[in-house]
Symmetry: C2
């Protein structure tokens, strides 16, 4: 940069950064001196084309510059060769070849930025800005010489220091073992993948390729759930998700839920090592799947970010989770970790680095930390409640000032388990239900069929055995609709056929069940909602609500500004019905959103942005944990949250006006009957 | 410490450090505040007894103190319990229990110092001061608590920071996997082994034991030679060598010398991996041997230091040594490395840290660096020449100002190879020879027999087949003695029986041989020194001398002040005979010493003193390497060093006055005879 007013002025867009540079300065050099975010892997040698820029010619009064067509040096042979070999968008130049000749405006297209933004589907979600921990660098290395006995590695390190400013790197032994042939094959030009450590001074060379490496490097973001494991393969240069795959967690054979897996470990000495082996094997299957789908060699997968609840986190690391099975629920480690892929036996690049997010507490794991990273309550002005519903619900409440977290034992009812006709979300499962409040007749939709059950042709479209059960979102809706229709009272009791006045209610022992679908004539199932189903959902929703309520108490608030439902279940749930049931606190309906697999997204953010790792580590340190198991108020909230109370103007924020009838069915006498009492 | 003149004065010996402390201050606390080197593993809890001190009572005018018998608090219950359980030397107190009551003189015995000195056999050798990289620390950890969700590891790290000032430690995954049971077994008291990294901020916990760990931790120092591998097991707290073992390098089956092993790798793709596996297996055998001998569990071996020449260094690391086979002899890496034992597959503690010394150049390896550390030319006022003789000789020349290094291709003659009756140093090998200059009759000693061959009873003592060959030191002596006796002339020619006037000379083809021993009558060998043997030794000694001479040229000197002969060969060689032969430059005989396996000693120093690692890394960076292969003067020196010239007052420094006869035997005519010409 120069202070000479005669020197041409270079203005970069969109950043608006500007400076004067002597005639002949390459645009890449000018960009670097101004701190303009312009990518380069080859370091300005006209090889990588990452520094593409678009010169803008014309009058730019906004910038106070007139940019003439001869403001840059003419198109040169390097650019011509690059264009003919690999193509270059019309109007683009290579920033390392084009030099300043006069005042000029230079646009840096998004794909030429290192810190480019990765597009997310939800507009309200936080941005993902590329800043991966592992990057490629092309370098030219001094040849060995008998008068300079320094090793090949040391000369490579010198080159990385001189050409890229990377100080104090080390080289993994595995990479060193193959370094000499690579250097010679590339004629002393190599591309290396450098994993930048936590501190600037502890980066590692994890791979070297001869010459300029045309390919890319990849990373995986993995959410290890108790039930399913999800894996995304991302390009570490573009940030793109190239493939995603999911798999049932094979640990299910050791126990459906977390506590039964912890019990398995307690009862079977060394049992945790079997579960560790099972989950790692599943991870390797998934890595194989995503690698194959994207056509990427496993050895090009050089980074991974892993999240999971504390039990999954410990089992993945090979730590016996037994301490998580009882108070005080002590984690073996709570902080983030960085390991070699080989330490967990993952079949990716053996020197690939794995980053494992920190755990918040013994019940609130790295998955919750990932949700916090994805949804960023700590960055909100509004008070945000984030609920990740699984067998345990992890709940976060906070804003810029403060973030609280807890875990609440909801049990598996929301996932369709412990429900008489419950099933996992799969084709044939009832997922949407509406009940006419007058006739008490239901209509519903099943997964895999666009028609409602009362639409013409539904039976044909769904097929004779097309209705198989009710999934989690379906059970929420049907019970909420039953309450709206007055089939269930404020205590959660199902009225009798007589009391409610519908033949849909059938007696089963001393209680009544609501017949949602009778497919028996066609060889299908009879699908009912039993009193037991209602009780199971009441318990689950009371636990969830009590957790949220406890955090609100702790925060000293009576309402929240925004609710985010995370997790697969959260993605399919109807916010209205959740609020009818009292699963979540009341909140304007447009302020309730589904984040999908936010834990997976958080893992992906940490994969693509090293700064986000430091961010979530700092956030987790300041999150206040509230332990539901020892808070007497949790029990109080839980008991009072069991009810489905009468509300005359219950949902001021709901788009659809809903009021819950003030109805109470008396609990059965000897005849098992109930009487309906309509309150005014 | 206090400034109050009324407070008692505490004087420590031998350091002389002194200060005033309030009544009741434990001696350990006083020592720490004054920076007195007083050990403690338990941190002052009366468990470890490492802080033993000896109070000195009486009048100490030198220190200006009268130390009364009540200057310390009375013997207490903790001391009594310790003494009855494990014993305590009379007069000793525990520094953490005894508190200051009045002016007192406290002696810190050597075994209570962290930085204690390890005794070496050679008085002129550098001191070894204990400062191991891996140390034990006993800590008390806060118990987990539901209101503080930090993990067990994090609370352990807090304890290490608060109780030992250790910041920024990390814990190996393997250790973390077993941490929770260890903490509970020890009731939240544990002893951990911490490997302090290169920077104060990157230490690692590599093992944890419940409670106070009564045992010790161990390290191995290994010299991986082309022919033999030597391993020493050291106690990392006392510095003591507990066991040593040696083994033939099994790589010998791939080639006797280094170059044939490099060739094996060149000719057999993947051949280097076979050699890597062989040397690592041998290391594991040795580790087993020393561990068994010392009764130490392999998992208690938590550190290792490895040295070797560049080819051995590369093969050990799993790097193909092919580039070391030809110019420019490029090392894959020249700097020091720190690795996990598991990375090399060594059967010690898998998280044990291995330190590999830096290589000086493509021909001058980590073994030479270890020799430099052991003999420390860089710390000398005098100009020191260090010669480590093997198949290659590594030569160092230097003092405080400057150190030079080179390698010289001596070949295997000094090891008894390529010598007609040569053999390795083993029982039966002739190792000492004297020849009567008048009669030309020899007398000698063999390894394993105290008698000289002309002593009464020698034949019986040595046995009928007790003389088997000549080892390296024997061949040096016999040829030097032959030269002194005039049996060999200035060009290295052996005279005829007639010319020399002894029946000991027998004709073999066109040349003469000297009969050293004829055991044939008793079924033993005929041991002769042939003309070929003399030529082989001439070539070897010329290479060695030329290397030394080249360094002297480079240094601009004509003489050196001190010569150190390193290596197994150097330990047995007679300095006088080496100088007669012209292997090494002339030097006062009392200034020539044998360092034994200096490479192994250097490895041991680096094992016991982490600072020595930083020292040798810095020294290696400033050592100037001289490449014999490309120095024309090396050839010149080599050619002129072939001769064994006449010297009338040749060895002014020699304890025994020796002069070499001016004799020249004419090289054979058709009769193969030679005439003796005595010059004036």
């Amino acid at each position: 940069m120069s202070d000479t007013p005669r020197d041409p002025l270079v203005v970069f867009t969109p950043s608006g950064k500007r400076g004067r540079f002597p005639v002949g300065t390459p645009i890449l050099t000018a960009a670097r001196q101004l701190g303009v975010d312009l990518d380069s892997v080859c370091g300005g040698r006209g090889i990588c084309s990452k520094c593409q820029i678009t010169p803008m010619y014309g009058d730019f009064p906004k910038h106070g510059v007139a940019s003439a067509p001869d403001a840059l040096s003419p198109w040169n042979a390097v650019e011509e060769r690059y264009k003919s070999k690999r193509g270059l968008i019309e109007g683009r130049r290579l920033g390392c070849q084009a030099t300043v000749q006069g005042d000029v405006v230079i646009d840096v297209p998004p794909e030429s930025q290192v810190h480019k933004q990765v597009v997310r589907k939800r507009v309200e979600a936080r941005e993902i800005v590329m800043d991966p921990a592992t990057r490629l660098h092309y370098v030219e290395v001094t040849e060995p010489d008998m008068h300079n006995p320094r090793g090949d590695l040391e000369r490579l390190l010198d080159a990385l220091r001189d050409q890229w400013g990377l100080e104090g790197l080390v080289c993994d032994l595995r990479t060193l073992q193959g370094l000499q042939p690579v250097l010679r094959q590339g004629n002393w030009r190599v591309t290396v993948a450098v994993h930048q450590g936590r501190r600037r001074s502890n980066g590692r060379i994890i791979q070297a390729w001869p010459g300029y490496f045309e390919g890319s490097i990849y990373g995986i973001a993995v959410d290890v759930g108790s039930t399913t494991i999800a894996c995304h393969l991302c390009d570490l240069q573009s940030g793109e998700v190239l493939a995603s795959a999911g798999l049932m967690n094979p640990q299910i054979r050791f126990g459906e839920d977390l506590m039964s897996r912890v019990s398995y470990s307690m009862m079977n000495p060394g049992g945790h090592t079997e579960m560790t082996a099972a989950v790692r094997e599943a991870l390797n299957t998934l890595i194989g799947q995503v690698a194959d789908e994207a056509g990427v060699g496993r050895s090009q997968i050089v980074e991974g970010v892993l999240v999971g609840n504390p039990v999954m986190h410990h089992l993945l690391l090979g730590i016996d989770p037994v301490e998580l099975g009882g108070a005080p629920f002590a984690l073996a480690t709570s902080d983030a970790m960085t390991l070699w892929a080989s330490e967990l036996g993952l079949s990716m690049h053996p020197s690939g680095r794995l980053y494992i997010l920190p755990c918040i507490a013994g019940h609130v794991g790295a998955d919750a930390a990932a949700v916090a990273l994805s949804e960023s309550p700590h960055a909100q002005d509004e008070l945000m409640l984030v609920v990740d519903v699984g067998t345990n619900a992890e709940i976060l409440l906070g804003n810029r000032e403060k973030v609280l977290a807890c875990s609440s034992p909801t049990g598996p009812a929301f996932e369709g388990a412990q429900i008489s006709s419950g099933q996992r979300a799969a084709p044939g499962a009832i997922e949407r239900v509406r009940i006419d409040p007058e006739t008490c007749e239901p209509r519903f939709r099943v997964i895999g069929c666009e028609l409602w059950s009362d639409d013409l042709g539904f039976v044909e479209a769904a097929g004779p055995t097309g209705v198989t059960g009710i999934c989690g979102s379906g059970i929420i809706e049907v019970i909420a609709e039953m309450r709206i229709a007055g089939i269930i009272d404020e205590d959660g009791a199902i009225g009798s056929a007589e009391a409610v006045g519908t033949p849909r209610l059938v007696q089963e022992g001393r209680t009544w069940s609501y017949v949602l679908w009778d497919g028996r004539a066609a060889g299908g199932p009879l699908i009912t909602v039993t009193q037991g189903d209602v009780r199971a959902i009441q318990l689950a929703k009371a636990a969830l609500y009590a957790g949220a309520r406890l955090l609100m108490d702790q925060m000293g608030v009576d309402a929240v500004d925004r609710v985010v439902l995370a997790g697969a279940f959260g993605a399919h749930i109807s916010p209205l019905h959740a609020m009818v049931l009292g699963m979540i606190p009341d909140c304007p309906l447009e302020k309730v959103s589904s984040a999908g697999n936010a834990a997976g997204t958080g893992a992906r953010i940490a994969l693509l942005n090293a700064g986000a790792r430091r961010e979530i580590e700092a956030v987790v340190r300041r999150i206040e944990k509230v332990e539901t198991a020892v808070e007497p108020r949790f029990q109080e909230h839980f008991v009072s949250a069991m009810a489905l109370p009468h509300k005359t103007a219950p949902f001021p924020h709901l788009g659809t006006l809903v009021s819950l009838p003030a109805v109470r069915f008396e609990q059965g006498g000897e005849d098992g009957g109930r009487r309906r009492r309509r309150a005014r």
